[in-house]
């Protein structure tokens, strides 16, 4: 009888969970916190809930839903030191599914190949309206300033001695506040750090409603936050009005793709797909069916699998170590510095310009579209209910997507072939 009970106990996950001295409980706690933020606090629920659920199901011993990270030679070893695969790069996908489980099949097929990030970018492009950017072109430059956090944290991470330059670049790209870009860059430069970087990038994106107000509160005065952009526009009207917005919006993605492809070819897989999605949207009814597919079916499917796979990379072995903690802390600094550098650039511009700009427009220079703009609009209307800055914020917010993809392109082209 005792033997039967013991066998039943060994069959359940309890035996491994108890033997692991509470490390699994930390992961469950993390999953529950993320689920709480997504469900109750509504922080990016479309992303955070799949990620959180991925974290949860990946951490049940015996469930085979956690993603195993391969080393540079493709060797996979589990927590007990048992070799699960000698070289995963030589394994077929059905073999991966059979030997390592369903989640590893999805991860190595969709994420590790770099397939999903550009697909997500295509969907983002289809959901992006470049109208606010085109109407406020001069504000777009703040999308460049807000990339400073990427490079600042790159230097700090290298100086710490904990990360080599490729790992530091992957850590820094979290400051771009763009999940697909962070994943894409990390796959190219430091694939072994994909799990903590993806989770840090998406978690901080989901925490935009907390991080932006924090940085804004530290750097901006009430007087600055009360700057009314519409009144400034009336006082100092901008020159050009668009007589045919539809034509401009159709030509714009084609022209931007061409220019970026010529200057930073390594960014084309992101920018090209972003602009392709946008072009299908802007053409209108002729490509309506394609637009509908990429902005709904494909985008939603990609988001579900991306979220679950990213969450499933967060196993006890991958998460509870000092490198991950370094990435979580460094990612926060990258994020904060990006917001701060956008705000500082607005402040510097205001010193030399008669037409004042609300510093919140600088804060939205990081990607995280459109959440960053919505959060900044809420901040401005808190100080002045009539001061809606959403459209102005969207200008720097959308250009921030282009900016972070270009920054990623620079990092990839400089570092990808570098031997460490």
């Amino acid at each position: 009888m005792e033997e039967i009970l013991n066998n039943i106990y060994q069959m359940t996950a309890f035996s491994d969970i108890i033997a692991a001295n509470g490390t699994y409980l930390v992961m469950y706690l993390l999953a529950f916190v993320l689920l709480y933020l997504g469900i109750v606090k509504h922080f990016e629920p479309l992303l955070l809930i799949p990620i959180a659920f991925g974290v949860l199901i990946a951490n049940f011993p015996g469930g085979d839903m956690g993603v195993y990270q391969a080393d540079e030679a493709g060797r996979i070893v589990d927590a007990s030191g048992k070799v699960l695969a000698e070289n995963i790069w030589e394994m077929s996908l059905p073999q991966i599914a059979h030997d390592l489980g369903l989640m590893n099949f999805l991860y190595y097929m969709l994420i590790k190949t770099g397939f999903l990030p550009p697909v997500i970018f295509m969907g983002v492009g289809a959901l992006t309206d470049f109208g606010p950017m085109l109407r406020n072109l001069r504000l777009s430059i703040f999308g460049a300033a807000a990339q400073m956090g990427i490079f600042a944290v790159l230097i700090i991470a290298v100086a710490s001695g904990q990360f080599n330059i490729k790992e530091a670049a992957s850590l820094g790209i979290i400051g771009g506040a763009d999940g697909p870009t962070a994943i894409f860059t990390t796959i190219k430069l430091a694939p072994h750090l994909l799990a903590p970087i993806a989770i840090a990038a998406y978690s901080y994106m989901a925490l935009v409603p907390v991080i932006i107000p924090l940085v804004v509160k530290m750097l901006c005065s009430e007087k600055e936050l009360r700057i009314n952009m519409k009144e400034q526009d009336k006082l100092f009207p901008s020159g050009q009005k668009m007589k045919n917005e539809k034509v401009i919006k159709i030509i714009f993605p084609i022209a931007v793709t061409t220019i970026v492809a010529l200057l930073v070819p390594s960014a084309v897989s992101l920018i090209g797909m972003l602009m392709f999605g946008n072009l299908l949207k802007e053409i209108g009814s002729d490509t309506g069916r394609l637009f509908d597919t990429i902005s709904n079916s494909i985008m939603n499917t990609a988001t579900v699998f991306l979220g679950l796979c990213v969450g499933a990379t967060m196993t006890v072995q991958a998460f509870l170590n000092w490198t991950t903690i370094g990435i979580v802390v460094g990612g926060f600094f990258a994020f904060g510095l990006s917001i701060a550098s956008g705000i500082c650039m607005v402040k510097i511009t205001n010193l030399f310009s008669k037409k004042k700009i609300n510093p919140l427009i600088g804060a939205t220079g990081l990607s995280a579209v459109p959440m960053a703009s919505r959060v900044c609009n809420e901040i401005s209307t808190k100080y002045d209910p009539k001061n809606h800055v959403l459209n102005y914020c969207m200008s720097s917010n959308v250009s921030g997507v282009i900016g972070s993809a270009v920054a990623a392109g620079v990092l990839i082209s400089f570092l990808q072939n570098m031997s460490i």
Partner: protein, 89 residues
């Protein structure tokens, strides 16, 4: 090794930020050029004005409320949009 990496990181900071600013400056000026060219050569966008009659439902809304709704729509759409049907929920 770390000194070399820091030097490389500083180099990336300069090259990266210059590239990002350069690309976005080009995108901004490209946008301006496009607007100028389209304004000059493309026909002006015609907004199809629907002559749809205002639904009867509007009549049941008092004039003050209707004026507020009209003003809001006008502000949001820059004067292009107008209410064609207002229904009480």
């Amino acid at each position: 090794m770390i000194t070399n990496d820091i030097y490389g990181a500083l180099q990336l900071l300069v090259v990266g930020m210059v590239t990002v600013f350069l690309v976005l400056l080009i995108v901004i000026n490209l946008g301006k050029l496009l607007i100028w060219a389209v304004n000059k050569w493309a026909p002006e966008e015609t907004v199809a004005k629907k002559a749809a009659p205002v639904a009867k439902a509007i009549e049941s809304i008092d004039a003050n409320t209707k004026a507020i709704i009209d003003a809001t729509i006008s502000q949001i759409t820059g004067g292009k949009g107008r209410a064609t049907k207002i229904t009480k929920l």
